[in-house]
């Protein structure tokens, strides 16, 4: 066994509560190798990270069989401070990993515990700040930094301990696009340095195509696929069945190739350089060769067509300032009107004002100036409890609201607050649980449910109040691919089946392209763009100003516009619907 890799040989692990998290896992990493582990929520990715870093069994107990070796040692046998000398871990949530008052003390924390001498610690901290672009932030409190900066500080704090194995457990899942880009860029640099073995778990398959030497796919604790990125991503059906997102560029190429009657065969090099440009070129070649034709009818842009509907929500010249030293202006003279029955996406970086705006719509925040109207009524004096009947909002984290002993009680709580008689309330409980596909969980203790199911329960509890407008605040955060689309489907059904209005805040451009007919882009407390989704995504320069990128399908469509593909296409489905194979 080489000194800086790791090896798991036929490892099975069962938690103390009897839940088997991993089953017969065999996996080997060579020194300097970059391994990516994919899997839906609950697939066993975090347990794998915990086994390598000694969190299991030292913090979470359980029963293990098989062999685990990290740098030639078994983390099971060593105290955690020994394992920490050769294995560093970066967790999902930057907030819980930062507990020192300045960036420099955060970076120094690990090596000072290991009694590294002061000069060496400062030298390492300097190097980490250089690598992670943290220079100038030395004295700042990590809690005051942006999400991406926080996660880079947390990564730096691990790097100063000089681990030989770096374990990254979904390091970008809670970040906005800029934060995600910053962290992925840092990981690229670590990979280029080649000094460490790196294992990273993620749902963001687009990020890892040019990083991974080896990809492992976990499904319910078992390895169902492993190999080079080309080997793994050439099996899209298996990946889809395991709830893994196929990168959109690859998905478009595979399906276009199928339409053209050919099987997609890609080398690892082609996978690494896969993007809208390369896929556009491949599809253009197929069109030029006559293997694909562009259908003559252009796909119409999805316009809302609801101009006859009354306004459900209106913001007139709304400004909001958070009190502080100095006060922070989160919204500046916002004007926005949403008609009944619209499904509107709101995108923008963290701090752009998205959440502040929707909190004004539900009455949690009162504008410093300007007016908010719901169904034409000024809500300035309407209490927030009363607002809950009109505008429902599902927060990012369902655990802020769940507190009762069963799903049924959870939904009854809200209904009781608005004075619904018990017979009627029980009827509604059944309806909404059926609606979110949780009727079997009616008596289940919410905290025993998966994160995805807890979010669905939170939606059900909100929908039960029968609001006219439903707002989803970042439903994609910390969710796997399947979970994201389940919530988006619920949003669409709420609009389609009940004719209600939906606002959805998200960082997932591919998802919002599929679901929203109208898109609002916020930047620095202002509305930068507002219009039909396809039109907004065509404003590439304006989007780039707010560090957003249009979906891959939109960029491919634009590159094929000279062949007649409409530039209004923004989803892979719409793009593929424009193309037809001509198999001889």
């Amino acid at each position: 066994m080489e000194q800086s890799g790791f090896e798991l040989d036929n490892v099975t692990f069962t938690y103390e509560d009897g839940a088997q998290a991993l089953s017969n896992i065999s996996l080997k990493a060579r020194p300097g190798e970059f391994i990516v582990v994919l899997g839906a929520n609950g697939a066993g990715k975090s347990t794998l990270c915990f086994l390598l870093s000694g969190v299991v069994p030292h913090i979470y107990g359980g029963k293990r069989s098989g062999k685990v070796q990290v740098s030639g040692r078994d983390p099971w046998d060593d105290p955690m401070y020994v394992t920490a000398q050769y294995c560093g871990v970066l967790l999902q949530d930057p907030e819980v990993q930062l507990f020192n008052p300045s960036v420099i003390s955060e970076l120094a924390f690990g090596p000072s515990n290991l009694k590294v001498d002061r000069e060496t610690i400062l030298e390492r901290a300097e190097q980490a700040m250089e690598l992670l672009h943290l220079k100038g932030l030395e004295r700042r409190n990590p809690r005051d930094l942006s999400g991406g900066q926080k996660q880079r500080v947390a990564l730096g704090a691990v790097l100063t301990m000089r681990p030989r194995l770096l374990v990254l457990d979904e390091p970008t899942s809670q970040l906005d696009p800029v934060g995600r880009w910053e962290v992925v860029d840092a990981i690229h640099q670590l990979k280029s340095a080649g000094e460490m073995t790196i294992l990273m778990t993620t749902h963001e398959t687009d990020d890892i195509l040019d990083l991974a030497d080896q990809v492992v796919v976990l499904d319910r604790g078992e390895i169902i696929l492993s190999g080079s990125p080309a080997e793994v991503f050439s099996q899209p059906e298996t990946l889809r069945a395991a709830g893994i997102k196929i990168p959109d560029a690859l998905d478009i190429l595979i399906q276009a190739d199928q339409a053209a009657g050919q099987k997609t065969i890609l080398s690892d090099e082609q996978i690494r350089t896969m993007g809208a440009d390369s896929v556009g070129k491949s599809l253009a070649a197929l069109i030029q060769q006559g293997r694909l034709e562009v259908l003559p009818q252009p796909t119409p842009a999805r316009l809302s067509g609801r101009n006859d509907q009354p306004f459900a929500l209106e913001a007139h010249e709304v400004t909001y300032q958070y009190p502080g030293y100095p006060p922070v202006t989160a919204l500046q003279n916002i004007n926005l009107a949403v008609r009944t029955g619209e499904l509107v996406g709101i995108v923008g970086q963290n701090g752009s004002g998205k959440s502040t705006l929707v909190k004004c719509f539900v009455g949690l925040l009162r504008p410093t100036s300007g007016e908010i109207r719901v169904e034409g009524q000024d809500i300035q004096k309407v209490p927030v409890g009363e607002m809950a009947r009109r505008v429902g909002m599902v927060l990012q984290n369902p655990d802020y609201q769940l507190f009762t002993i069963s799903s049924k009680e959870e939904i009854l709580f809200g209904l009781n607050n608005i004075g619904i008689p018990i017979e009627e309330a029980e009827k509604r409980v059944l309806e909404v649980l059926r609606w979110v596909d949780l009727e079997k969980e009616i008596e289940t203790f919410p905290f025993r449910m998966s994160f995805g199911d807890r979010r669905k329960l939170a939606v059900a509890a909100t929908v039960a109040l029968d609001p006219k407008v439903l707002i989803f605040d970042e439903p994609t955060t910390a969710q796997d691919h399947r979970g994201r689309y389940q919530l988006a489907e619920i949003a669409r059904r709420f609009r389609d089946e009940q004719g209600r209005t939906v606002l959805m805040i998200t960082h997932d451009m591919d998802l919002i392209a599929r679901y929203a007919e109208r898109l609002v882009v916020m930047w620095n407390g202002k509305i930068l763009l507002d219009g039909p989704t396809a039109q907004v995504f065509s404003e590439k320069e304006a989007l780039e100003r707010s560090f957003l990128h249009p979906p891959v399908a939109a960029e491919v469509a634009r590159s094929l516009s000279r062949y007649g593909v409409p530039e209004t296409v923004v989803t892979p489905e719409a793009l593929l619907a424009c193309l037809r194979g001509r198999v001889d």
């Binding site: 819980v96 927030v384 802020y400 507190f403």
Partner: protein, 278 residues
């Protein structure tokens, strides 16, 4: 909501003071307020110390509005103390207002008495003096400096980190409390509009239960983050951020000692004078 006890980053003379000097000031404050006050004339001692604390706060350049939460808590406590002492003080004879008549021993606890109110006010001044010192230490000293100071005082590493983590968790608890309140308001559970009795009867379960469950979860993550960064290594960690004593530190220690000594001299003379007058 303003979070009490959170470190406020400023470049003030108080921020630059060595943490041990500020710790010394906290210890002296405790000595001042723990000394018994048997007569209102002794109040000059804590009031003198309070005046010095106020000067230190002004020098620390921390905005008064940052204390809004703390002040609300203190005002509630003061109102409670004055009311309870006013009604139950055994030596109270001068009735200010009689709410109802209810004899308990020789005292009518249904009447508010001047002597009781004054005794309650004396307690309040002592509490205010105490409350003015500890926040000055934690709001002007970064936790890294606190850790170093405690280490120099030979406080065990685990105990030191428990104190610092508790301060860090205070911020987290306030943030979570706000988020949970908002989440429940969105379910038509408007705690702000409930009266005190309704709040006590039914309001806190939907707030406290998620808070406790979330804290357990956060504490687990926190432990993972700590342990994977070798916190459990036996022995003292390397001291990275060194902070030598300066001339200002020495001057401030002298000022604290002089004021403390002066209050003790005054105290002695008041005792002597009271003894002389019988």
């Amino acid at each position: 909501m303003q979070i009490p006890f959170r470190y406020v980053d400023r470049n003030s003379i108080i921020h630059r003071l060595h943490p041990l000097v500020k710790t010394f000031y906290v210890v002296l404050t405790l000595l001042v307020i723990l000394a018994p006050i048997t007569n209102e004339r002794f109040l000059v001692v804590p009031i003198t110390w309070l005046v010095m604390s106020i000067i230190l706060w002004i020098l620390a350049k921390i905005e008064f509005s940052r204390f809004s939460t703390l002040i609300k808590l203190l005002l509630g406590t003061f109102a409670f103390l004055i009311l309870v002492q006013g009604c139950t003080y055994r030596m109270g004879t001068t009735v200010i207002i009689e709410l109802f008549e209810l004899q308990y021993g020789e005292t009518n606890i249904g009447a508010l008495k001047l002597e009781g109110v004054l005794y309650g006010a004396m307690l309040c001044i002592r509490i205010l003096t105490a409350a003015s010192s500890l926040p000055l230490l934690v709001m002007t000293t970064s936790s890294a400096d606190l850790v170093n100071a405690f280490r120099k005082l030979r406080v065990p590493k685990v105990a030191t980190f428990m104190i610092v983590s508790a301060l860090s968790f205070t911020t987290l608890i306030f943030e979570m409390w706000d988020n949970i309140m908002n989440a429940q308001k969105l379910r038509a559970f408007d705690i702000d509009r409930m009266n005190l009795f309704t709040r006590l009867r039914r309001a806190y379960v939907p707030i406290v239960t998620p808070l406790v469950l979330l804290l357990f979860r956060k504490a687990n993550d926190f432990q993972i983050a700590l342990e994977t960064r070798a916190f459990g290594t036996p022995g003292d960690p390397t001291e990275v951020e060194q902070r030598p004593f300066t001339r200002t530190d020495v001057v401030m220690i002298l000022i604290f000692l002089v004021v403390f000594a002066a209050t003790q001299v005054v105290r002695y003379y008041i005792s002597a004078s009271l003894a002389a007058t019988g």
